[in-house]
Symmetry: D2
């Protein structure tokens, strides 16, 4: 109850830095257990373990990275249909503003929804004209205050939703998913 997985792929190290800030945000909520895993390290058991997940990918042509996609196809596939009602969100670092970070987050959210996760963005602004309505975005290294604050807020909000909802989900018996 309160297990948060930060799953990321990083090419330049920038998305990994974002992952660290997201984790820091999640840790602000008492009782959260936070675990960070790269796409190379994560296992289906990490997905089973978590109540909520933040998934980060570099922006590569406006869609999440092949490595992160491969994780969901080849590694995680066996737990598809067992993630119902867990909570998910996305973050991405791009090479340039206007370069597809929002769209990359969108592609990540589409995968999470397909797996059964409930997904969210955050209405709040973390600074002057800076928000994370569809997940956290950063341009290159998340060095600026607002970019760091967006990552932290994302992790914090994820942990809040998990704290509020994990007990409810555990009380449901949804049965196995139908596949036809």
């Amino acid at each position: 109850m309160g297990n948060i997985l930060i799953l990321y792929d990083s090419r330049t190290g920038h998305t990994q830095r974002m992952a660290e800030y997201v984790a820091r945000g999640a840790e602000k909520i008492p009782q959260s257990k936070v675990k960070s895993r790269s796409a190379d390290e994560a296992t289906p058991d990490d997905l089973r373990w978590c109540d909520g997940i933040a998934v980060g990918s570099p922006t590569q042509f406006g869609v999440l990275s092949a490595k992160m996609k491969r994780f969901w196809e080849e590694v995680a596939g066996g737990v598809w249909g067992q993630m119902d009602g867990k909570i998910g969100c996305a973050f991405s670092s791009s090479g340039g503003l206007g370069g597809g970070a929002e769209l990359t987050n969108l592609s990540t959210l589409l995968i999470l929804m397909n797996y059964g996760f409930l997904v969210f963005g955050v209405p709040d602004y973390v600074g002057e004209a800076f928000t994370l309505h569809y997940g956290a975005v950063a341009t290159r290294e998340p060095s600026e205050g607002n970019e760091i604050a967006a990552c932290e807020r994302l992790g914090e909000r994820l942990a809040q939703w998990v704290a509020a909802f994990a007990a409810g989900r555990a009380s449901m018996d949804l049965g196995p998913v139908s596949q036809r």
Copy 2:
């Protein structure tokens, strides 16, 4: 606790028919209170009242209808930032398969996320090769068994999430949204 709003816009009556099936699905869950409103009728109080929402729009050029968009801009705007953690989903009837029903649902989900709703699709298949991974879709009138089953499943799943989660959300004190 357990209030479900079915909000729809309908041009030909097809999306309205979908709304009826979504409502029927939600009513399968005991304790759900289900209210249906067209985009012309709905008020901010309907949004305040609900714990979960299913939003239906005709597919019009791959994006939700202007009338439904207008509702979220002009009618609902005042409750933006007060919807955090409520549960949302989408449905759409299109004029043709391959005509943008999934993309229309996507546009609806983007609005709901912006408002603070957690959004979901359903992994399950409701019939042979028929699912609702990003909300329910129908081609023209939802007359076929699978299309009706998809609408019902969407409403049922929405009511299930609301039943599981509404108490958790009520226990949170998120404070007012920051706007800068």
Copy 3:
């Protein structure tokens, strides 16, 4: 041959400012005729007239504005299926970075594709870590050099494509669209 329509909706004036810069960019290409119209002013004849179009909308909940959507549903509907092979692109001003400007451009591009436009983004960077891969984006007023340069580049590129392609399109006889 070389007619460029800049079509915009603006709530705060920011998207209108972007429209002015997009127009200025288009005018860099000799032989371009550039016309700017708000969503309130534009007519079906403006669409018939143009060889290429740049459509701007404020970012409102991650989807183009109801007013701009309404234009495509109610005003422009009669020329649907007569736009085949014209060139289109998008721009948007948002209230905050990470607030949905890219997604708003996406919704605009979906409408344009539905009408038969070929749509594009621009690979080039217009400044340090600033690009327009899915159309031009600005945060609030496009006052910063990069934001202005992105708008100008968008218009310039649109006019370049039109100059290169309009003669080719005119040579085709596609016949009327089939609607069933």
Copy 4:
């Protein structure tokens, strides 16, 4: 002038079948040279060679396959910024209706736009209530008449645009892309 590349990834053989029908459609246009390549076979030279491309991927969690994404990241990356103004489109076979085929096509189109392709869908209906507004979609094997007709129409339209536009593009000197 008139070189069409059909690039596909296929897991079950269904998307490969679609590719065959898309190729057949392209061949209807005289002077078209049509080449089909799987994601395993294609090379950067295939991209340099083509004037237009149709990219097919299985629908896997609402986003193009990791294998196809990997092609664009690792194999094709070197020709990024040299594709400006070529024409592109998408097709996808999914496991179920409502399962993400339109969204998978969307992810493919985002990559193509990022590379500089102009992308399109087709307004026409190819049968009763069956269209391809955002590319061709099929549910499992494209055995039904409408699904086959949609693939053929996609290829035909691609070849038409290429025939009309390739000469225009060749006449442009866009210069190298700026990367900063």
